[in-house]
């Protein structure tokens, strides 16, 4: 787990209610003190290393459930609630937020929204931005503001829920959120197989798009991390497909998918249910947080996933790979910091591969704080960074929130 040591923090404030949070932000604004919003501190290595001294602004004690009208399938909570506490609260009413994050006993909802972190279930259920229907925050002048509301359908005003999701706390500190929720399906299982090549994997992935099976997650993984867990050699590929629904539905899908795979020449299919499925799922969810000197995330067209993996493998850097293959998202966790230098390796080989597939590449974690240019951290083609900077200036005119860490130019 990351710690605040990766940020240049002199002391950390931990307000216990919303008014105190506003007061704290105001006093920082008055003294022109930079602020680093902190949730569960599980993603502090995301973004550029901080260079300016400032204070930590912890939401740890802002963790109350404000309103949970279960029959309306919405919940309003403070931003510091942990993902596991939220899940537990919702599960009591057979509801959930279908967003999977590692270290859920520490990670907070506010942090997940600020980093727009999404796990394997994004294929079937969408991403966290699809579930935030109301948001409150305090901007860089110490002024609280909100967007959206508490109803599931609402088009009044600009959508601050979207603007703040993924903003890395740079427009304001997120204080409260309203979410729409989903029922928890009664049945869950995972089917897995080992494609014998990247080409074979692409064939199976393309077949899945046209299949009548509607998976919740489509994951393609490779590397020694996975071979220990799933058996096989380090360079084996594993395709894991999660199925959810009623028992009738998952049974039917499992049968259908097995048949489809057998027709494609797959001989060995693993059908995981119960605890076996849970344990494999937990590995898929926790992977991005596993110990690594460098983790990057590429987002490419889904059909480009195997080409991107090939490009990464061609760098000959030892790594583990997890692709949310149905969405075109590939997470690469390197075993060692690149000897040629980080920016050189990323800009030389990995980033061009993502760009060639009409995608982008960002660094998820670089705990050594080793040299990282803006281009290496936020690479992409023709991204309107100036426009984003204009927005930043409107919400945080003195650049007090997470200065120097995000995409602004």
């Amino acid at each position: 787990m990351s710690t605040t040591q990766s940020l240049t923090i002199t002391e950390t404030y931990q307000p216990t209610n919303q008014d105190e949070l506003v007061e704290t932000v105001r006093s920082c604004c008055d003294s022109n003190t930079p602020m680093y919003p902190l949730g569960g501190q599980t993603s502090l290595h995301y973004g550029m290393a901080s260079k300016v001294e400032g204070v930590g602004l912890s939401t740890a004690e802002l963790n109350k459930v404000i309103d949970f009208p279960a029959r309306d399938m919405t919940v309003t909570v403070e931003a510091g609630i942990t993902m596991s506490k939220l899940a537990e609260t919702l599960a009591a009413e057979r509801l959930r937020l279908p967003v999977d994050v590692p270290q859920s006993d520490v990670a907070t909802l506010g942090g997940v929204v600020a980093t727009d972190f999404n796990g394997p279930r994004r294929y079937g259920a969408g991403t966290v931005r699809d579930y935030v229907i109301g948001i409150s925050a305090i901007d860089g002048t110490g002024t609280p503001f909100k967007g959206g509301g508490r109803v599931v359908k609402n088009v009044a005003g600009y959508d601050f829920c979207k603007l703040l999701t993924g903003s890395l706390g740079t427009l304001g500190v997120i204080s409260q959120l309203t979410l729409k929720l989903n029922p928890i399906p009664s049945s869950f299982r995972i089917l897995s197989c080992q494609p014998n090549s990247l080409d074979n994997a692409e064939t199976l992935l393309a077949d899945l798009v046209r299949s009548t099976v509607t998976p919740s997650a489509v994951e393609l993984v490779t590397g020694s991390h996975w071979s220990t867990l799933l058996s096989g050699d380090a360079d084996d590929l594993h395709l894991l497909v999660a199925l959810e629904g009623t028992e009738l539905e998952t049974d039917w899908m499992a049968q259908q998918l097995s048949q489809q795979w057998r027709e494609s020449g797959i001989r060995f299919i693993q059908d995981l249910t119960g605890d076996e499925a849970k344990s494999a799922w937990s590995e898929l969810v926790e992977f991005p947080a596993s110990e690594s000197p460098l983790v990057v995330k590429a987002s490419v067209r889904p059909s480009g996933v195997t080409k991107f993996i090939e490009a990464v493998q061609n760098t000959k850097c030892s790594c583990n790979i997890q692709a949310h293959a149905g969405n075109g998202v590939v997470i690469v966790s390197f075993d060692e910091f690149p000897a040629v230098g980080l920016s050189r390796m990323l800009l030389g080989a990995v980033q061009p591969a993502a760009l060639a597939l009409q995608g982008s590449l960002v660094v998820l974690s670089n705990p050594s704080g080793g040299e990282m240019t803006h281009q290496a951290a936020w690479g992409g083609n023709d991204i309107p960074f100036e426009l984003m900077t204009s927005i930043k200036q409107q919400f945080d005119p003195n650049n007090l929130f997470n200065p120097g860490r995000y995409v602004y130019v």
């Binding site: 599931v152 600009y158 029922p183 046209r210 009548t212 490419v300 936020w378 409107q394």
Partner: protein, 484 residues
């Protein structure tokens, strides 16, 4: 007149798009004086029909040079005055940009120009096994550019979400004429979520010139049911019970007695006229799970005292059940010469109370109100019936509408679920949001649109940047409007 005070403008526009694609004669402009919201009217000074993002960019730059306001328009089906040129200026009509640029099934996206009519995309996808999920009831006319501007909904939003959940990226012309691409065929574009910010911004932040939309696999099957209830309360209880049981129907629509009577007179569906409400319920998905869901729904409706639950056994029967819902608005003409539709939202469990309040408010103002709406997501469309020749009725309709929307807010809801703020509901923004919230929205607008020449006087009560005064629009007359 801007055209006369800026003589170079019309010629400049003609040199960008060609002589026949610029309208400036008053008689030609009349068509563009309003959209589906007919209460307020104002002619643009010039209407221009660009062919490309480059055209739009040059038009915008020219407007900035000359110092005239400009705004985009699609098919003009907005029900809230989203396309009303409040202070005149140049209207950029995007209906010539109507190409479906790419359909990509493997990567589940399509690229369309903003003037593509919503239903064209569905038609183009026929046979592919995929569709574009947002389907507003005006989908035969409205454009995808307009859908993006208003974050359109429709009957299937309960399960499939609204437009913003299906837009991967946009190409847009900013207020200063720059062309930017935000997002695209890949997910997770880097940096702030500008796509999510632009979708639903009602044309006030940028002019969208290309859209990457997500395609959704067609469901394997459907089960469609029609529940007939003695009381509105029983019907609304069924709704919460169905969703409480973990079933998310693809559609869950309610029609009350008033609308049933009109439908029966017009189309003879065979509905009992003494029933207070009917629910149209459709589940879709894997065949393997549908019978179970259908049986559960029938049981839950029966538990809530449904008099009868009809089931569609064939596709023809399914279409017949949907026909009742889709023709509801057509039947209203039998009830009254004019009508006004509202677009409030309440938490789903507040529907019984809200419907009771609508009835009380109608009685207080001596008006007839009928209801047909998206019950599953709490989005009400109360239809207030009146005769526009009667001044007193007109005043009462305006007062009753205001009271209904205020009641939605008091219950923690919203004054618009899918039609947008436009000019119609600007006055309600101050009731829904604090001054600080509105100031934050204004700052967002300034970041995109600092001179406030793009779609001025929309959505926000004090939209002005740089000391620009907002032109207050007072609603004097309820319109006869179609609804979702």
């Amino acid at each position: 007149m801007i055209a006369t005070s800026h003589p170079g403008l019309v010629n400049g526009l003609r040199s960008i798009v060609g002589v026949d694609r610029v309208l400036s004669a008053h008689s030609d402009l009349l068509v563009y004086e309003c959209d589906g919201f007919v209460i307020e009217k104002n002619c643009p000074d010039v209407v221009v029909f660009p062919d490309s993002a480059e055209d739009v960019s040059q038009i915008v730059k020219l407007c900035n040079d000359v110092g005239v306001p400009f705004l985009p328009r699609g098919a003009g089906t907005s029900l809230a005055g989203g396309c009303l040129p409040v202070g005149g200026g140049v209207m950029i009509v995007l209906t010539r940009m109507k190409e479906i640029v790419e359909l990509n099934i493997r990567d589940r996206y399509a690229i369309v120009q903003p003037g593509v009519v919503n239903v064209w995309l569905t038609q183009a996808l026929k046979g592919s096994g995929f569709h574009y999920a947002p389907d507003p009831s005006s989908q035969g006319a409205c454009t995808i550019g307009g859908n993006v501007a208003t974050n359109s909904g429709g009957p299937h939003t309960l399960k499939y979400g609204v437009t913003v959940n299906h837009v991967l990226g946009v190409e847009a012309v900013l207020a200063d004429g720059r062309i930017v691409q935000i997002g695209g065929p890949s997910e997770d574009p880097v940096g702030l979520d500008l796509v999510g910010t632009i979708v639903g911004s009602e044309g006030t932040l940028a002019i969208v010139t290309k859209v990457w939309v997500r395609l959704t696999p067609n469901p394997q099957g459907y089960r469609t049911m029609l529940g007939i209830f003695e009381s509105v309360e029983d019907a609304t209880n069924s709704i919460t019970d169905i969703i409480g049981a973990g079933i998310i129907p693809a559609a869950l629509e309610m029609l009350d007695q008033g609308i049933l009577v009109a439908l029966e007179e017009a189309f003879k569906f065979g509905f009992p006229l003494d029933a207070e409400a009917i629910l149209l319920i459709e589940v879709d998905g894997l065949e393997a799970g549908l019978d179970q869901q259908r049986d559960q729904i029938v049981e839950l409706c029966n538990k809530c005292n449904a008099r009868e639950v009809r089931q569609a056994a064939t596709e023809a029967e399914r279409q017949k059940l949907w026909k009742a819902r889709k023709q509801a608005f057509g039947a209203i003409g039998r009830l009254s010469p004019s009508y006004c539709t509202q677009d409030g939202v309440v938490p789903r469990t507040q529907l019984p109370f809200m419907l009771k309040r609508i009835k009380e408010i109608a009685e207080k103002y001596d008006l007839k109100v009928v209801n047909v709406f998206h019950a599953g997501d709490g989005n009400l469309h109360p239809i207030l019936l009146f005769d526009e020749r009667d001044k007193s009725q007109v005043e009462r309709v305006l007062s009753a509408s205001g009271e209904i929307l205020q009641q939605c807010l008091d219950l923690g809801g919203s004054v618009t679920g899918e039609h947008g703020i436009g000019v119609e509901k600007v006055a309600f923004m101050e009731k829904m949001f604090t001054q600080d919230d509105l100031a934050a929205m204004t700052r967002l607008r300034i970041a995109f649109n600092p001179e406030n020449q793009l779609s001025p006087d929309k959505m926000l009560p004090t939209a002005g940047a740089c000391g620009m005064e907002s032109k207050h629009i007072e609603q004097k007359h309820p319109g006869r409007r179609a609804a979702m």
